[in-house]
Subunit: 356 residues, 2 copies
């Protein structure tokens, strides 16, 4: 069904090699021969088979990308960033949703090796992903880890300063009067959970506030459902906190649902702050106080690191890129904003960025 170099060669009355040379411009071909070949290509509607090419050259022109969930806006932006850079470099992305499942992740890593992608971008499930990544190390397979570091594992990595960011965010909550602050966090084997919890503790300690383990609650899944469940527990506590620090935007949304269902108002009855802004949402309803991570940049930088590694343009040592997150103070935390409600000028109408 599909024409091959040989078909083109026959039609143009040359050898397959000459056709290849015309396609790749890899050597000079007599203008008239070239024309004949080009005509044959057009007539046969010939498209080179990059699978065959990939077999010869072990260059498949593809990169693998494994994320827990593309539909999570956080990862969506990472995908977009990664895709943009990859495309410019002539690469396509093979997309995998690990669904935060270690077994899936393992399979995908193996499948990416099998597909002979030239490199792998991965936002791992957690510390236990280490075992899944060892095959990559063994093969000296180029890969870059995104967002979550893995304890005791050195590799190229792009992430945000979760400890610092959490500390800043919680310190802000403290600065506007909150003393009893709950945290919705993730199990300690996910670096973002671990780091943000640490930032939380550091902020409290710095303010001389005792840490109450009863109001630091873990959710196995950092999504809306998880936030919802944990917030239910928080509201059931005897000694209710006045504010909640949610590990990410989705858990915060779940928490808001619970708070509203309980007939309470954010921030009057309960302050709220979290990691990760939600694009678009900020336009319609500039409400959540967040630590905004440069998610798209995670993707672009990770791709760039990966391409460098594929191209052999870097040494063996792992490169860790730590990007800064921005504190965006809006109303959910209970801060009094100086700006009027309907100031003009896009994009973040009701947003005040901290000026430090």
């Amino acid at each position: 069904m599909n024409a091959t170099v040989r078909d083109v060669a026959r039609k143009a009355r040359v050898s397959a090699m000459t056709v290849s040379r015309v396609i790749n411009g890899s050597a000079s071909v007599r203008p008239e021969t070239k024309r004949r070949v080009e005509r044959a290509i057009a007539e046969l509607d010939y498209v080179p088979n990059s699978v065959a090419r990939g077999l010869m050259s072990s260059k498949t022109g593809t990169l693998g990308l494994i994320v827990p969930d593309i539909a999570n806006p956080f990862f969506t932006m990472i995908v977009r960033g990664a895709e943009t850079v990859a495309r410019r470099a002539g690469y396509r992305l093979l997309l995998c949703n690990s669904e935060n499942d270690l077994a899936f992740e393992r399979e995908y890593v193996e499948e990416m090796i099998s597909h002979r992608v030239e490199g792998l971008l991965i936002a791992p499930v957690g510390d236990k992903s280490k075992a899944n990544l060892l095959p990559l190390i063994r093969r000296e397979f180029p890969f870059v880890i995104i967002d979550r570091s893995i304890a005791g594992f050195d590799s190229d990595l792009v992430q945000a300063d979760s400890v610092g960011g959490a500390k800043k965010l919680v310190s802000h909550l403290i600065s506007i009067g909150h003393r009893r602050i709950a945290m919705i966090t993730q199990p300690g084997d996910v670096s973002t959970g671990r780091d943000r919890s640490q930032g939380y503790r550091e902020a409290l300690e710095a303010a001389g506030i005792a840490i109450d383990p009863a109001i630091v609650i873990e959710t196995p899944t950092a999504d809306r459902d998880g936030g919802y469940r944990v917030m239910k527990q928080v509201l059931a506590l005897d000694n209710r906190p006045t504010a909640v620090f949610a590990i990410n935007n989705l858990t915060a949304l779940g928490a808001i649902q619970v708070i509203r269902e309980a007939g309470m108002v954010v921030p009057d009855d309960m302050g709220l702050a979290c990691f990760d802004d939600v694009e678009h949402l900020a336009v319609l309803s500039p409400f959540l106080t967040v630590m905004n991570q440069p998610t798209e940049t995670f993707g672009t930088v990770a791709s760039m690191l990966l391409l460098d590694r594929i191209g052999g343009r870097v040494g063996d040592w792992p490169r860790r890129v730590i990007l800064q997150a921005d504190l965006i103070v809006r109303v959910s935390c209970g801060a009094k904003l100086q700006t009027p409600r309907h100031r003009s000028g896009p994009p973040d109408v009701h947003t005040q960025r901290e000026a430090d």
Copy 2:
């Protein structure tokens, strides 16, 4: 660097063919031989090369997916749906962002053919994409079109009932008292723009309202920026409309920005309704009246159609799946909701004001 069947064969003291048989279980192998081979595979950390396999069998285990922009929540959900179904069937997705650019689209189609994906899912740029898709037809390449149909082009297709949906939405605006309704639309060579404009006209005609071309304004890009620009024009009109029908969620967000910057309030000063809900956003701020399309289902159904076609389980005739969109009435259109808006405690302060 990577072990091959031959390496495994040598180590297990069998032929490459036998190794292949063990891997694929394609023929019976003596248990003891099998064990030797499996040990060799484990020791060499052998992973079969699916590129080579793909060359032999022309089965690459990949599908192509071309969308204008993964970061657009509408397409994100399509990607997720498509990925889920593809994965269950043992396929990976090769992701392409066409950026609504016909030239990019053309390249991507060719590249997908070159990569020998087994089928292609594509949300086309518009009617002009026809030329880009002809190579697929010529090769009888399996593909499914998503969201936007192409004038004069028959193929497998999944989309929503844009005409009916728009009619329903605009009729709703009329039913709650709006008589002068502007529309932010897309050029007529994109089916969603064409169809929704038609629904808009049908609704007006049914209500005996004359159509004023001056308040049906096109934006070349149906994104926030496009909505922003068009809404500026709308507000500059002498005879301002009382409501706006935006072709999708992003243009609606852009429109809201303009309205707010003008010191106006939705829906009191300007009603607003659009196609496409925004996940998460509805939780935080149930504000926008929308026609909600089952986006994830677009992806899953399209994948299913494609897999059927690849598997040769269907005839030649094209299948068109039209999914229903749901009208979700919230406050932005200006409808008086029966349930008190702040029944379980007010949502965030800003939407609260808009609801007054």
